[in-house]
Symmetry: C2
Subunit: 202 residues, 2 copies
């Protein structure tokens, strides 16, 4: 029988999805509440036909967590499941080797379809989702330098510190901060930091 492992720290969500997959998908579903437990189970029982990992769970990370899961389940596929992750996160997950990215906003029937597709060795990544932010960001092209500065801001650094780290003058940082605020529609550096974090720009 086809075996599937689903890892999610939200027991309510995990149990109900697992029940649905077991019944509607005719699958044997193994459950874990965090990444470590999932890895231990894979190590003891051997690879399952498909692993579904929640992105926001204890121990999970990109790309390390995904790599560990892929290694533990080789040669069978690992896919991510998330309700909140950004398209950028999805892209990074796929870049890390995940076979699919399943948003929790999808319909249950679509999940079954996606799982079947993944079991057949395919990949699943809703292009609509992946491209959904391209439009939002088409006029949001942050240059590498601006991202460097944004990172510094988010760490609470002063312009002077960022300047020293990047080995430029403080005025240059001020310039980048100003353009950052303009591009992000932020009122000041703090606002820019929050917006940048919301948009998962770092």
């Amino acid at each position: 029988m086809t075996r599937l492992l689903i890892a999610d720290d939200h027991e309510l969500v995990r149990e109900t999805i697992a029940a649905y997959l077991a019944e509607a998908g005719q699958l044997e579903v193994i459950q874990s509440a965090d990444l470590e437990d999932a890895l231990v189970r894979l190590a003891s029982t051997g690879p399952v036909d498909l692993v579904l990992l929640d992105y926001t769970m204890p121990g999970m990370s990109l790309p390390e967590g995904v790599h560990r899961a892929i290694d533990a389940n080789a040669p069978n596929p690992v896919a991510l499941l998330s309700g909140t992750a950004s398209p950028d996160t999805a892209r990074r997950a796929l870049a890390a080797g995940a076979a699919g990215f399943l948003p929790k906003t999808m319909a249950p029937e679509t999940l079954i379809t996606a799982v079947r597709h993944l079991l057949n060795g395919g990949t699943y990544a809703p292009q609509q989702f992946l491209e959904s932010d391209q439009k939002n960001r088409k006029n949001l092209h942050l240059t590498p330098r601006e991202l460097d500065v944004l990172r510094g801001i988010c760490e609470g650094k002063a312009n002077k510190e960022i300047a020293r780290d990047l080995e430029v003058q403080e005025v240059t940082i001020k310039l980048h901060v100003k353009t950052l605020c303009r591009k992000l529609n932020a009122r000041n550096r703090t606002h820019a930091a929050m917006i940048g974090r919301d948009l998962d720009l770092l």
Copy 2:
């Protein structure tokens, strides 16, 4: 038959939980993908026996969203359902009049129990969850006023604006900002905003 409305923008989660509640709980379950749709449905069909609202969904807010739902479903109870909300959020939801707060980490059987309890007019708020952050934050007791200020900071407001909104003097805001930075080990307001966001203090 007992009717329940569940609102959550994650279709996969909503559908599977709804299916579970319908079957295991012998309930009639109505679904909505956002707060507006839920309110429209309540307005057209009249109050249901219990409303379950996801905290992180379009249109949802504290305390306004909760108040609107309570008004729309009066006199029957409204409870919140969330996977990520902090204990502080749960407390504010209850303060806003919610009859319960159900973390998505709970077991499905516990959900049934909680729903039955809410249907009987009781309240449900896992005290273990409500107190769970007291340990992590034992030396992190932010006063209500400090949270107000932190909110303002996170929105990119200047001290002067926050002062006007809270109807106090600017110096008072500066004082709160200073204590906030000390309590959060932040280097400045921007850092404090990021830390507060990471800790889900708002």
